[in-house]
């Protein structure tokens, strides 16, 4: 089962990527910290700590990073049985989307050499990046929940091979053009107040990317060019591609975030195309009522997909 | 208990319904007045008649030969006169060319005497088999001498005798093994001599304990040549008797798609064919008689009949006391793989092993509905195909696209149609697909 091994490998890499930030945090007294539920911060110490000090709320100062003057009221602090994990309970729910700062004050100097230990608790950035990816891929799938790129979606989802080719081409062009757009936006348009030229510049960059991919592919890999070349023309006149830089500009994403968005959007488009194509190959064999043959039934199936994708609504992974 | 030998994937357990005829000894049917012998009795080129209308022939005379290509001669089953050479109703095709003989009831029956074959060499044995007009009587009718001349690069090491007889109703092979065990074993020795192999397996399904016992006894008593013959008891599961499945059950080897068994060093012969080889080589008697199981609730007197090739169905029906009012369908061959007969004029051929007269309650005539993709056919298919997909493509008029589903690997065992809860005629769909996809 070749596919299975590939799948396993991908999973292994993904798990490792998720574990890395956890492994990388090791500094001073604190081994790890994170939000528990919405009224809790969990702090993990490297070694068991003193119950009398570390289970006393008076030793903790907690505030939202943007509101340093307003202390959050602690309800209680619990240490677990190993003495290594402290649970900080709060009276009011925390806004976990914002970074928080925890200061441990009046510590006995013997423990760390310092009397104050301050650290930041925030949702992991990698998680945030992944959430952009997953969001564009599934939760806010461009086709089924944002309703973009439908012309190409309906036009090229008749056969699975075409769908695959189209999806891959799209993803490549999307990523390249979105990153180029990011550079342009950050370093040329924003500093000079040329925001209003967004549309022209972005579509220009998309055409440029398409042209570049076309030329490079033709030279480097003619076989691949023959397979994908036909789709390249279709790419320019498509709103999915141009939507990515527009969203990027709207949300002021940084480079990595833009990359994740483009990758997710492209992957989501590929996924939608591929699923739709395999379903449509099946639909071709069906006895669909005559008036609904072809595009109308494709719309209705897409609507059913969108209904199913409602299941992802409200999903927050990280 | 040790598991009985079987193949790993697919297969079904249809009701065997062999009790109707399993206990009935082979009965010799009187010769009919007229016989129709098809010129094409085997795979390959049809025979060219060597007689003309009005010619007189004796029992066992050659009446047609193959001059070019694969084939083996046909013989006159009776003494008599050639009445006509023309088209006659055929079980699979609508009609086919045949030689019609008018029986001369006065002529004495020909008597065959035993000859010693031990001194004959391979070529002589093969010639005897070819002259006997032997074909694989259990299946498609592949000329036996051709099957016994494998390509030189194939290293044949095993002979398998197929006595599985997995199709419901049919008991012809069962009776042959019971009544002619010694002949079959001797036939096996002949084949082993021809192929130069030292190992022979006789595969018999576990539901025929008497046949197993008879064969084991015959094997013990026969010491003619070298090599070992073993009787292997097989699990009762359809299609145990299919060549590829049988080879896998017994040897564990897998025959690749479209390759012959010789590719994995195996040759398979039906037990009845082996009996015919014995007849041809030892007695010099060509293949013109056939044990046919006539069964089903639609016939008054089910029987295992020894009939002459060419005997028309209506003669057999008349001999067995006619049909019963419940008769709903007549099937040439077994209920799983057989073909429905359209007329009683159809004659028996060398490959006919049974004719079933099925009553309403033995067949399923409910109309089929749309496929619900339950996947039962996938589980049942011994070849690992997807019959449902093929059928859906055929229904949508896209037979050409069925090739990726392996439509040509299908040997039409009928397992899929048997398990289908929607009663879909999957085998017919696949036949259609093969027909149209080939074009």
């Amino acid at each position: 089962m070749h596919r299975l091994t590939m799948l396993m490998r991908a999973l292994a890499v993904l798990t490792l990527a998720l574990l890395l930030p956890v492994l990388a945090q090791a500094d001073g007294l604190i081994a790890g910290k994170s939000f528990g539920n919405d009224r809790e911060i969990v702090v993990t110490f490297k070694a068991p700590v003193d119950q009398a000090v570390f289970a006393d709320p008076a030793h903790y100062l907690v505030y939202e990073e943007s509101d340093p003057d307003i202390r959050l009221e602690l309800a209680d602090v619990r240490l677990d049985s190993t003495g290594k994990i402290a649970f900080l309970g709060f009276k009011e729910p925390l806004n976990t989307t914002r970074p928080h700062v925890v200061s441990m004050i009046d510590l006995p100097a013997a423990v760390t050499g310092r009397t104050v230990e301050t650290f930041r608790v925030a949702k992991p950035y990698l998680g945030y990046l992944l959430s952009i990816l997953v969001s564009a891929l599934l939760i806010n799938n461009f086709v089924f929940t944002k309703y973009l790129g439908l012309c190409v979606f309906f036009g090229t989802s008749k056969r699975r091979d075409t769908a695959k080719g189209m999806g891959v081409t799209f993803t490549i062009v999307m990523v390249v053009s979105a990153l180029m757009s990011w550079f342009f936006y950050q370093f040329v348009m924003k500093p000079h107040g040329l925001d209003f030229l967004q549309i022209v510049v972005f579509i220009g960059l998309v055409s440029l990317t398409v042209q570049a991919v076309d030329t490079i592919l033709r030279k480097v890999n003619p076989v691949l060019f023959n397979a994908f070349g036909v789709y390249l023309v279709l790419v320019i006149a498509n709103c999915v591609i141009i939507a990515v830089p527009l969203i990027m500009a709207n949300n002021e994403y940084n480079f990595l975030e833009t990359f994740m968005l483009a990758l997710g959007a492209g992957g989501g488009f590929l996924l939608a195309l591929y699923m739709m194509a395999s379903v449509r190959e099946r639909m071709e064999l069906a006895r669909v009522p005559k008036s609904f043959k072809g595009v109308p039934i494709a719309f209705i199936v897409a609507g059913q997909f969108a209904l199913a994708f409602l299941g992802f609504s409200g999903l927050s992974l990280f | 208990m040790k598991d009985l030998l079987t193949f790993p994937k697919g297969g079904v357990h249809p009701p065997a319904a062999k009790h109707l005829t399993a206990g009935l000894a082979i009965e010799v049917m009187p010769v009919a007045d007229e016989l129709d012998i098809f010129v094409g009795q085997h795979i390959g080129a049809p025979c060219t008649p060597t007689v003309a209308k009005g010619d007189s022939v004796a029992e066992g005379d050659v009446i047609g030969t193959v001059t070019k290509g694969l084939g083996t001669p046909i013989h006159a089953p009776v003494a008599g006169k050639v009445k006509a050479i023309g088209a006659v109703a055929h079980p699979m095709r609508v009609t086919a060319p045949a030689i019609t003989l008018q029986t001369d009831h006065e002529a004495p029956a020909r008597v065959y005497t035993r000859k010693d074959w031990a001194g004959l060499d391979r070529a002589a044995l093969l010639a005897a088999i070819n002259q006997g007009g032997i074909v694989g009587v259990g299946g498609a009718g592949f000329p036996t001498h051709a099957k016994l001349s494998p390509p030189p690069e194939a290293k044949i090491d095993t002979l398998i005798l197929n006595g599985a007889e997995c199709e419901p109703y049919i008991t012809a092979d069962h009776r042959q093994m019971l009544e002619h065990a010694a002949e079959i074993v001797e036939g096996a020795r002949i084949i082993m001599a021809v192929l130069g192999v030292s190992r022979c397996h006789i595969g018999i399904e576990a539901n025929k304990p008497d046949a197993i016992a008879a064969m084991q006894k015959a094997v013990r008593e026969n010491t003619v040549g070298a090599g070992t013959i073993t009787v292997d008891v097989l699990k009762v599961k359809y299609p145990q008797g299919s060549e590829k499945q049988l080879i896998q059950s017994i040897t564990g080897r897998k025959v690749p798609g479209f390759a012959l068994p010789s590719a994995v060093g195996v040759v398979v012969h039906n037990v009845s064919t082996t009996k015919a080889i014995f007849d041809a080589v030892v007695l010099g008697k060509p293949l013109y008689e056939k044990v046919v199981t006539i069964s089903g609730k639609g016939i008054r007197r089910p029987a295992n009949l020894l009939v002459r090739v060419g005997t028309r169905l209506n003669e057999i029906v008349a001999y067995l006391g006619g049909v019963t009012p419940e008769l709903a369908k007549i099937v040439f061959g077994g209920p799983m793989m057989g073909f429905a007969a359209s007329s009683l004029e159809i004659p028996v051929t060398k490959t006919t092993s049974s004719v079933l007269f099925l009553a309403e309650d033995e067949i399923d005539s409910t109309p089929h509905s749309q496929c619900i993709r339950c996947g039962w056919c996938l589980a049942a298919c011994p070849m690992g195909l997807e019959p449902k997909e093929i059928a859906i493509y055929v229904e949508a008029g896209r037979e050409k696209d069925t090739e990726p589903f392996g439509v040509f690997e299908c040997f039409e065992c009928g397992c899929c149609a048997y398990v289908c809860p929607a009663k879909r005629p999957l085998v017919q769909f696949i036949r259609l697909a093969k027909l149209r996809a080939r074009k």
Partner: protein, 302 residues
């Protein structure tokens, strides 16, 4: 070769013409856009204060924005409030920095034209120059203090907090005693029909009239909304109840918890918690600011 030069020439010309058209329309529309945006925001704010086309705001009413910044110098953080200075020029502003514990730190005077003060970028630049280099300035939020003839009438607090799905952006109006005057949902992405109902009068008007004491303990209940209360909450839309009636009913429910939207308890709770958070933080800070302004004798128009 000639071909290419023609192409380049024509393309350049086309681009120039296109840029001309776009630039021209940008110049024309940009001003109108900003103007309209302001007018729109002002309209929402005034409507929260109870003014409408039928009951226009008096000319004596004035809105004074106060911007809050986080000023960081090495590890020390202070809060910087950009306040207008009363008396004298309209472009006089002062950045008052206050330590986290509420003690006055410093005052930086700066000059900034009021229309420029509304531009986030220019304002930040002005503030940065005022505090001098070596300190990082981070914009935090904005409060609008409403005065009538110099008397404090209300506070308008734009804010945002996480909803069920993404952020909910609101403007909240408080009277000087921190009683809620009104709540307006500006932007949200809650589910239509469920959490999306937070924009309905019968939900958001529940906050109206809640005194600060009640607000601090405000919770959410999953009981059905009483019909009478609902009538009062939707009075502005249906017009069936008279103002006295509405006031009476609102008085009756003023200490009651928020009735959750059916099927959208999470959204209801997020809005309630969000509003609570905004008010609490503001009440905490405005006290310090007022004290510092009074101590330092900084004359402000509010």
């Amino acid at each position: 070769m000639k071909d290419i030069s023609t192409i380049i020439f024509r393309l350049t010309l086309t681009c120039l013409v296109a840029a001309l058209i776009m630039g021209g329309s940008f110049i024309v529309t940009n001003r109108a856009k900003q103007h309209n945006q302001q007018v729109n925001e002002q309209k929402v704010m005034l409507s929260l204060l109870g003014y409408s086309a039928a009951k226009p705001a008096p000319a004596s009413l004035a809105l004074h924005p106060v911007y809050r910044y986080l000023v960081t110098e090495q590890d020390v953080q202070t809060l910087g409030y950009l306040v207008p200075v009363a008396g004298g020029a309209t472009d006089a502003f002062a950045l008052v920095t206050i330590a986290l514990d509420g003690k006055f730190v410093a005052r930086h005077d700066l000059r900034l034209a009021p229309e420029k003060a509304e531009q986030a970028k220019e304002r930040l630049q002005a503030v940065q120059t005022a505090v001098g280099s070596g300190k990082t300035i981070q914009y935090a939020d904005q409060t609008i203090i409403v005065t009538d003839n110099g008397q404090r009438q209300a506070y308008l607090l734009p804010g945002e907090f996480p909803g069920f799905k993404t952020f909910v952006k609101v403007i909240l109006a408080l009277d000087p005693g921190f009683t809620v005057l009104g709540l307006e949902i500006m932007e949200h992405e809650e589910d239509p029909g469920l959490g999306g109902e937070i924009v309905q009068d019968y939900f958001k008007n529940q906050f109206r009239g809640k005194p600060y004491e009640a607000l601090k303990k405000l919770g959410v209940v999953k009981e059905p909304l009483p019909d009478e209360y609902r009538g009062a909450l939707e009075a502005g839309k249906t017009g069936r109840l008279g103002p006295e009636e509405v006031a009476r009913i609102q008085e009756q429910y003023k200490d009651h918890d928020i009735y959750a939207l059916t099927g959208a308890t999470i959204s209801s709770r997020s809005v309630t918690n969000g509003v609570k958070g905004i008010v609490k933080k503001f009440a905490y800070r405005i006290a310090f600011l007022d004290r510092v302004l009074a101590e330092q004798r900084i004359v402000v128009p509010f």
